[in-house]
């Protein structure tokens, strides 16, 4: 049977084929990706859409965790300082109620408690990056002096709280409105301090004792509220660990989907180089050959 005498198209097709393999291998090695276009692996390219979105989210969740963790820690330490102030107020109250103090002494104690009250108000008005820690979701200063109020201060924040997203289905409550901590109807921190000041200034020992015990119960109430932040902190720390693992999982997934095994890619590249040189060498050997090479020219 006669065979196709024209080797050129076949050789060109082979060369082109080996060139394609060479280019693919080179691209895989140089980009580190096996999927550079959706057509390289449509299913992997489609899965990468979700992976891209998830990766972005996890990055942002991680940032959220660290930013609110610092807010929560600040809130918690502010409350600790309030607790310290209140403890001090209780001991001052107890001292004032023991019936051995002169009026001058009582006035001095009252002035100290007044100072504590100012500190507590200042703590309650703490702001971080422009937002108040204990103002609910409001942006106005939580406690402002108000002579008409019994405690001397009015709450201008609101009773809402924000939950911050730190996971696809997890949000952490990051603030307790000041109205729940400092001006609760039954355990009113500011009110009880204010009453103690009044009692110290012009009350009987028994008035002072009553006011002191109100401050004491407000103290333990603040202690309870502090656990909200403690719990949030624990939750955030464990979420941070989870997000770190999730980041690794997502990047592993991305690598599995579109990444390239460098060892395989390098082997492929060297294989493609060998194939390409072999095809070129074969072409160089075969193409110039014909019967004419072996005939002597006619004399």
């Amino acid at each position: 049977m006669r065979i196709d005498p024209n080797l050129v198209p076949t050789i060109l097709a082979d060369l082109q084929q080996s060139q394609v393999s060479l280019n693919t291998a080179l691209q895989e090695v140089s980009t580190g990706k096996s999927v550079n276009m959706p057509s390289d692996n449509p299913a992997a390219a489609a899965d990468m859409v979700q992976n891209t979105i998830d990766t972005g989210d996890v990055d942002q969740y991680t940032q959220n965790v660290s930013s609110i963790l610092s807010t929560v820690q600040t809130s918690s330490s502010v409350l600790s300082s309030v607790v310290t102030s209140l403890t001090q107020a209780v001991s001052l109250g107890t001292e004032g109620a023991n019936g051995t103090n002169s009026t001058v002494n009582l006035q001095a104690i009252a002035a100290q408690v007044q100072g504590i009250l100012s500190n507590v108000v200042s703590d309650a008005n703490t702001s971080v990056a422009g937002s108040y820690l204990f103002g609910g979701t409001s942006t106005s200063t939580p406690y402002v002096a108000d002579s008409t109020s019994s405690s001397g201060y009015t709450y201008s924040g609101n009773n809402d709280s924000n939950s911050v997203a730190v996971g696809d289905n997890l949000s952490v409550n990051v603030n307790v409105p000041g109205s729940q901590i400092f001006s609760d109807p039954t355990n009113n921190v500011l009110g009880s301090l204010s009453s103690l000041v009044t009692a110290l200034k012009c009350g009987t020992s028994s008035d002072i004792a009553t006011a002191t015990s109100a401050v004491d119960s407000a103290l333990s109430f603040v202690g309870q509220q502090q656990t909200v932040y403690g719990n949030a902190e624990t939750q955030l720390n464990s979420q941070q660990t989870f997000l770190q693992q999730d980041t690794v999982t997502l990047s592993t997934q991305a690598n599995n989907l579109v990444g390239v095994n460098l060892a395989t890619a390098a082997t492929d590249l060297s294989q493609a180089e060998t194939d390409n040189s072999a095809a070129l060498a074969a072409a160089a050997k075969v193409l110039p050959n014909s019967l004419l090479n072996y005939l002597s020219s006619p004399s």
């Binding site: 024209n6 276009m37 959706p38 891209t52 609110i68 937002s131 979701t137 924000n162 911050v164 997203a165």
Partner: protein
Amino acid sequence: MGGLNTSLLIGVQALDANQGALQATSNNIANVNTPGYTREVAQFTENGENQAVDEVTGGGVALSGLQSIRDELLNIQIQQQTSQQNSANTQSSSLQQVQTFFTTNGDDIASGLASLSSSLTQLSASPSSSSAQQGAISSGKNLAAAFNTTAQGLSAAQSDADQQVPQTVTQINSLTQQIAQLNSQLGQVPAANDGGTTQDQLDQLVQQLSGLTGISITQNNDGETITTGNGTPLVMGGQSFNLQTTTGTNGFQQVVDSNGNNITSSIQGGTLGGAIDIRDQVIPGFQSQLNTLASQFATAFNSAQAKGFDSNGNVGANFFNLPSNMNSAASGISVALTSPAQVAISSDGSAGSNGNVANLSAALTNTLPSGQSPADAYSSLVFQVGNAASGASTQSTAIGQNLTQLTNQQGAVSAVDINEETTNLMRFQAAFEAASRIVSTVQVLDNAALNMGSSTSF
């Protein structure tokens, strides 16, 4: 009994015949690289015997003609495969162009969705930060821009395909005119005879034509009748029928046959069929999904906006603007908000609340009326685009291999083999030399006969 003159005659005939064969061989060698050339083989026939009174002698050789060696069936198979391959190639190159817009490169829709999603998450932690609010607006703009770019990419590929239609039709018309001319030349060659180089040229043109559109060929007394796949005549004998293009109601070029019928949708195969398929079927499929996604997502996001309040305490205004025509949702989507304060972050109207961020984020993950979440709807589109691109290129490769096989077979039948021609050259050279020797020998013998009985030679 034949005389010396008979031998002389046989010698001269042999010289003629072998000279003709040498010419054929030279012509084959000369055309070794001519596309569409089929090798020609000299046809030697022995002449009738000389009948003398009591003896029969051979009558020498004649060159009865040159036969082109071709296989018309293979040609038809090659034409069909060429049609399919060009169609796949046209689709593949268009889809290669399209799929770059669906690659995760930071400016695509997936990156846009990811950046909007993470800027909303950031707003959740810092609802009153104006830079976080600005971030959400910018991400929204990036997403809208990604929709615009992708839609423009699809339209650009579609209009490229559209431009191929009139160009290809012009080429088709030029080819069918040349084919009709060759057909009428071939009509003058007796049916039994070989068409020779005219047939080569015709086959070559028909193969070019088959690359432009799918055709069907029938042989009859007038030569070849060529029609499109669905039967619209292109060439009948010596007559060609021009196709025309007009702008259709959809703004795209429509193909019209010589009777004024619109045959656009029935054209298959070849560059023309591939371009029409991409333009009228493949890309519109992607466009409609993209528009549905853009419009349903924007609507869902806008209604999430409306559930909350912006930083000034107003009910959330539309975040995205959509064009009134849903068919241009993806190309026309834009961010409606002008100020970062307009992002509806708050659920209670106070500026520090982040209560509505959860609703906005949910618009990115909740199921749209299409039954898929925005990310899933877009993933599915990426899959389809990738699959179509890889399908077209796989098809092109597969047909390419088939075509190589067929071309090899055709080469085996019709191609000029230099080695074969070289041996022929030697064969005919030897025969020519031998025939010359007959002539010179007869001359010597003639002289000998004339000098019989004479003492002096002539």
